[in-house]
């Protein structure tokens, strides 16, 4: 177990290093730079050149990269090229919106996906189960942005239950207001994620229904439903946990889209704005943070999966 965890940790670190090189190199391919953006359409070439030198953009790429990675090792993400504020502070600010959003979305996804997935498996070839699977198929095909627009139209504009967009100005100091602002965005992401989970849970549950231990339990007199719930579900959940690592990446992508749609001040929206401004130090910091989170979730899922699955423990070295 320790060897396994250590191995995954090394993979985690190597993943981050590779990501840092890819992120840095890809961003240098973008046309335009921050000095030109600051100077805008009124600045002179001399002003742009001066800004470039001041911001260190005229130095060789390798020197810039090594500087940045050196900072990363000290957990220093540097400063915004535009405002000069520490990147880590900005990200921490925005994570206060994005992390709860991701958590809530995941919760919605699980609440929608798992019970309906099990239901779809138990009642397959019957109206209820078929409806659940078809509903899942349709939801999985709906673009999150469109789902979000429909939700806004119904719950915020027509019914007026929830805000159409935005986040309270004073953040989490009024938790109820903050939570209300996250409901529709979380449902938007959660439904799409939930649809994926539903299909996954359904096939895992169908597999379990055919498994010997469920049949054995049924032979001992349990109903098939009870046998699945008592003995099959732990195995189904194991599969669901392992797919959650992959879903984490989906949550991040969902957050970028949905934060735009709902004007939420989260990491996703900041990322889009910073790419537009060519504030590359900030973009690098944001992408590294998101990468680290996705990799960390994957790492935790791997370790947890192994810890709770006795088969994986025995098979391993």
């Amino acid at each position: 177990m320790i060897r396994f965890t250590a191995g995954r940790l090394v993979l985690f670190a190597v993943g981050l290093l590779v990501a840092s090189a890819l992120i840095f190199a890809t961003l240098r391919l973008l046309p335009g730079d921050v000095a030109q953006v600051i100077a805008g359409t009124t600045g002179s070439p001399a002003q742009v050149a001066a800004l470039r030198a001041e911001l260190g953009l005229d130095r060789p790429f390798l020197a810039q990269y090594l500087d940045w990675v050196g900072g990363l090792l000290r957990l220093d993400l540097g400063r915004s090229l535009v405002t000069g504020t520490p990147v880590a502070d900005e990200i921490a600010d925005k994570l206060a919106v994005t992390l709860p959003l991701a958590g809530l979305s995941l919760a919605v996804g699980l609440v929608v996906g798992v019970p309906l997935g099990v239901l779809a498996a138990l009642r397959r070839r019957r109206p209820l189960g078929t409806a659940a699977s078809i509903g899942g198929q349709i939801l999985a095909a709906v673009p999150a942005v469109w789902a979000g627009m429909l939700l806004i139209a119904l719950f915020a504009v027509t019914l007026g239950w929830l805000p159409t967009q935005g986040f309270p100005l004073d953040g989490w100091s009024d938790p109820a207001a903050a939570l209300r602002a996250l409901v529709l965005p979380a449902v938007t992401i959660g439904l799409v994620e939930g649809a994926v989970l539903l299909r996954f849970t359904r096939s895992a549950a169908l597999g379990a229904l055919d498994a010997d231990y469920v049949r054995a339990a049924a032979a001992k007199g349990m109903t098939r439903d009870r046998a699945l719930v008592r003995h099959g579900l732990p195995n189904v959940m194991l599969s669901v946990v392992s797919v959650l690592g992959i879903q984490a990446a989906g949550l991040v992508v969902g957050a970028v889209l949905v934060e735009q749609l709902f004007s939420l001040p989260g990491v996703g929206r900041m990322l889009v704005a910073d790419v537009g401004r060519r504030d590359l130090t900030k973009v690098q910091g944001e992408l590294m943070t998101l990468t680290a989170i996705v990799l960390a979730v994957g790492f935790v899922v791997d370790v947890v999966h192994r810890a709770v699955d006795p088969r994986a423990r025995e098979r391993g070295e």
Binding site: P45, A50, V82, T83, A132, V183
Partner: protein, 502 residues
């Protein structure tokens, strides 16, 4: 079934978080402490008014937080602000300003003549500051006594006073050492309360304001880039005012109880610029043919109908405006004939513009140019890419590498761009440059106006661009909010007379 989880999930979360947000019925009484929430489109890159370009910054900070000796109304009239009066000598070389009394900065310090001299001198001397070029004619700035500032010019500059209503004329405190990127210390009726980058910028009333204090407690600018999200925010009451309503979505707000949509004039000039320095635009027949091929009225209708045909380089609110819409007005047959004559019967052209502007413009232009035999390829890119692809001149001195571009030139009084052969238009007309210099040197505003009008007529006739339209801007205002400007809102939002009822 598929709506069941959706309904269930939302209902559950609503129940969990319900409560606490019910506003009392409006009483109609003025509310001195109201906070007015304003939905805006573009957020400033940074708050450094001295270094960071972009009208998104002027829009919120000038007039409200920072002030200059003179300012401008929403119809571009010049008015005294920190100066109680100003006088221009007959030879146009000496500008004398008498300072208003009792002016203080937000940090409590009193405004001195030295602050004014230092502020202007800084911009005049330091070529890395924004709008440095506006003060090129300034020879000296002096303070003969505590309440007088004198600007001496080396040559007359009829544009100076208007320039002073912008960045170049703002007065900052010499002794202050606050970080201009994130804070502001001005003299205006509002103080900068805070800026949450990527979401909002907040102002509060300056209770120690030297003039009449603001009638509201504060203003929150919410940056909502998505047009339909802004509409929804207005409908649900999340914002009190929405500037620059997307004209194609206007019908969603018209007739809504408690909301009024007002129309206002702007200098937002949607300009289809040709790269005049390269083939095939060096041939005036090609340029004119494109102007003739564009049906401005159809384009305006397709983008929501909230604009007026412009015809020439100068919009109605700016000096030198004359109606030039008859020059090369829509005539596809004449366009085809000109293209035939120039031997360019089958042109392939590329239009590159920033993705902050509607895609519909590119679509309509593609169709209209197709009708005269021009195949248009449209590329929408982000603003930074546009800057490097189109706007910035290659450092080796070669011509810029683009064919057509489309920009909303929102700045007012910017005719000078047509008299600058190095600008991205690549338009080099000695006659226009001469007339523009003449307009600057004029000491009588009427002469300046006449010279500009003459220059504009030449530009329109030379067809270095097609002026698609000037926007009529739409502002959606909740009932009970008064004093919100409705014209020129892209460049300025003077909120000193804003008021709200409960």
């Amino acid at each position: 079934m598929r709506t069941l989880p959706l309904l269930a999930a939302v209902t559950a979360l609503v129940l969990v978080t319900a409560g606490c947000t019910s506003s009392p019925d409006p009483t109609g009484a003025p509310d001195d402490d109201a906070t007015v929430t304003v939905g805006l489109v573009l957020e400033p890159t940074d708050l450094d008014i001295r270094r960071t370009a972009g009208i998104a910054l002027d829009q919120v900070l000038i007039d409200n937080v920072y002030q200059g000796l003179v300012g401008r109304t929403q119809d571009n009239e010049i008015v005294d602000v920190l100066a109680s009066s100003h006088e221009v000598s007959d030879d146009g070389l000496t500008y004398t300003f008498t300072l208003a009394e009792g002016v203080t900065f937000h940090d409590g310090a009193a405004l001195t003549a030295e602050d004014v001299v230092w502020s202007l001198q800084q911009v005049a001397d330091d070529d890395s500051l924004a709008n440095h070029g506006d003060l090129a004619a300034v020879d000296a700035v002096t303070a003969p006594d505590e309440s007088t500032v004198v600007i001496t010019l080396s040559r007359p500059d009829s544009a100076l006073l208007f320039s002073l209503t912008g960045r170049a004329g703002l007065v900052l405190e010499q002794q202050a050492d606050n970080d201009l990127s994130t804070t502001a210390n001005g003299t205006g009726p509002f103080t900068l309360e805070g800026w949450t980058q990527g979401d909002n910028l907040r102002l509060s009333r300056n209770d120690d304001y030297w003039g009449t204090p603001a009638a509201v407690g504060g203003v929150v600018f919410r940056y909502i880039p998505d047009p339909s999200a802004r509409i929804n925010a207005s409908l649900s009451g999340d914002i009190d005012v929405q500037t620059a309503v997307d004209a194609t979505l206007r019908s969603q707000l018209d007739g809504v109880d408690g909301l009024t949509v007002s129309e206002g004039r702007t200098t937002d000039k949607y300009t289809l610029a040709f790269n005049n320095a390269v083939e095939p635009f060096t041939d005036p027949r090609v340029r004119k043919a494109i102007r003739l091929a564009v049906d401005n009225d159809a384009l305006i209708a397709a983008t929501g109908g909230s604009a007026v045909d412009q015809g020439g380089p100068i919009p109605e609110l700016d000096p030198g405006y004359r109606d030039l819409t008859d020059v090369d007005a829509y005539d596809p047959d004449a366009a085809r004939a000109l293209l035939e004559e120039s031997g360019q019967g089958d042109l392939d052209l590329t239009l590159e513009y920033a993705n902050v502007y509607p895609a519909a413009i590119g679509d309509v232009l593609t169709t209209q140019l197709k009708a005269v035999g021009i195949t248009l390829t449209v590329e929408q890119v982000d603003f930074s890419t546009w800057l490097s692809d189109v706007f910035v001149a290659p450092s080796d001195g070669s011509p810029r590498d683009f064919q057509l571009s489309m920009v909303n030139h929102a700045e007012t009084h910017d005719f000078g761009n047509w008299a600058d052969p190095d600008y991205y238009f690549g338009y080099d007309s000695p006659a226009v440059q001469g007339l523009y210099a003449e307009s600057l040197a004029a000491t009588d505003p009427a002469d300046a106006d006449e010279a500009l009008a003459e220059a504009a007529a030449i530009v329109a006739d030379d067809a270095p661009a097609e002026w698609l339209y000037t926007t009529t801007t739409l502002t959606a205002i909740r009932d009970g909010i008064t004093g919100f400007p409705t014209s020129s809102t892209t460049t300025r939002l003077d909120l000193s007379s804003l008021a709200a009822t409960e």
